[in-house]
Subunit: 246 residues, 2 copies
């Protein structure tokens, strides 16, 4: 907590370079030419490290930039005055954070690192300027925002119509798919969030999440050891999904 680096070189030394980044094909530079990515490099000023448990931004912070996750894992959440929390998403490398702030120029949710992470700061005014010049960038940014909307619709579907086990199955399959896209194992991964955070995202209590995990394990669909998950029967999980209630 107290041990910030004594020499304040952390920020400036981390000059970003999309052109060198292995997430290039997942992240904002997708579809840009070499020359265009170089232009983007100049815009993406600095990287910043966020320690586990720390905020990247908070609801009510003024909006200035969006953020690309270089490495690590985040959650976004909204807090009600009475203390209720709704996790609105989990974000991993290559994904964009902060678009909630564009509309009001104030952030409307909190973004919190679930492990030590590193993000690229993309000043929004400059992004807009550059995307007036580079059509492919404009187009891709619009797609990123649109996909966020579509993702949110999926969560609504999950929260509005699915039962607990369906929700969890959908959640696991979604994670698996996203890890796969990043070159990690589709079958085996490490959850960065607690049962409570999963529950909040899925509209369930942590005990229900835990029970569903146990049930999946009994049925041989997955193996669970705390945060280590191994998917043993993807088909079985998928079958759970479109196989409505009683």
């Amino acid at each position: 907590m107290h041990a910030q680096n004594v020499i304040p070189i952390t920020l400036t030394s981390l000059k970003a370079a999309c052109s060198q980044c292995n997430l290039r094909e997942l992240c904002l530079p997708f579809g840009l030419s070499e020359a265009e990515v170089t232009q983007l490099d100049q815009l993406v000023g600095v990287r910043r490290k966020i320690k586990r448990g720390h905020h990247l931004y908070r609801a009510s912070d003024p909006f200035e930039a969006i953020y690309a996750i270089k490495m690590g894992f985040f959650k976004t959440d909204i807090l009600l005055e009475d203390g209720r929390e709704q996790v609105t998403g989990f974000q991993m490398a290559g994904e964009i954070l902060g678009m909630d702030g564009i509309g009001t120029e104030i952030h409307t949710c909190n973004a919190i690192a679930l492990e030590d992470s590193e993000i690229c700061i993309i000043p929004f005014a400059q992004l807009e300027q550059l995307s007036r010049e580079i059509q492919a960038l404009q187009r891709h940014f619009h797609k990123v925002m649109s996909r966020e909307i579509v993702r949110d619709h999926g969560v609504m579907m999950l929260l509005g119509t699915m039962r607990a086990e369906e929700r969890l199955a959908a959640f696991l399959l979604n994670l698996s798919q996203r890890f796969t896209a990043r070159g990690y194992s589709p079958q085996e991964f490490h959850l960065r969030m607690t049962r409570e955070e999963i529950g909040s995202y899925l509209g369930l209590k942590l005990e229900t999440v835990s029970r569903a995990f146990s049930r999946f394990q009994e049925e041989g669909l997955i193996s669970v050891h705390q945060k280590h998950i191994r998917l043993l029967d993807n088909q079985g999980l998928k079958r759970l999904l479109n196989h409505q209630a009683p």
Copy 2:
């Protein structure tokens, strides 16, 4: 159903004109200068009438344009293979439909008119082009998308953490606020959707919605006569919201 206008002048005769539109301050032209709105006029080619119950677009339709609601009322929904429906939103005059399709260039939900409606077609490629030229348009369009994301987060909060009566109270207050912004009475309005559609949106069964309405009425918070709603105690409804469960 069968009685399309015999003379096919419906489309072309309805040349749009944002500059003349009384929704100008709510809709896409917000914040544009006279000259800029005139440019937008040229882009917003035609209007189209959609009869009650008809689709504006369907999931899997190719994406070509976004749509501004000139008048009327829509719902958007997603259908699961097993028949479950999730209503993802209700849209009224001045609001924008179709942004779900940008990401994949295929629409991902259905947009259905809940009353006879009229929409302005905004071809998306042209909108992108013009928003590369007009900064205020670009900015405003980004705000519109961002607000959609924030709205979706609100629905997640509602579905994930609220009990039935809280959900309905939030829904009514939201509608009231949006009608107010359009110059209609904040206290009295006409629901265009069925209890089932409200239920689908709120993650509840229609019987539960109906019971909640009755309960509100007993408590003197609203008066309900079928689809006619009158809010009698806004404060009371608001109190329901941040006043957690048992």
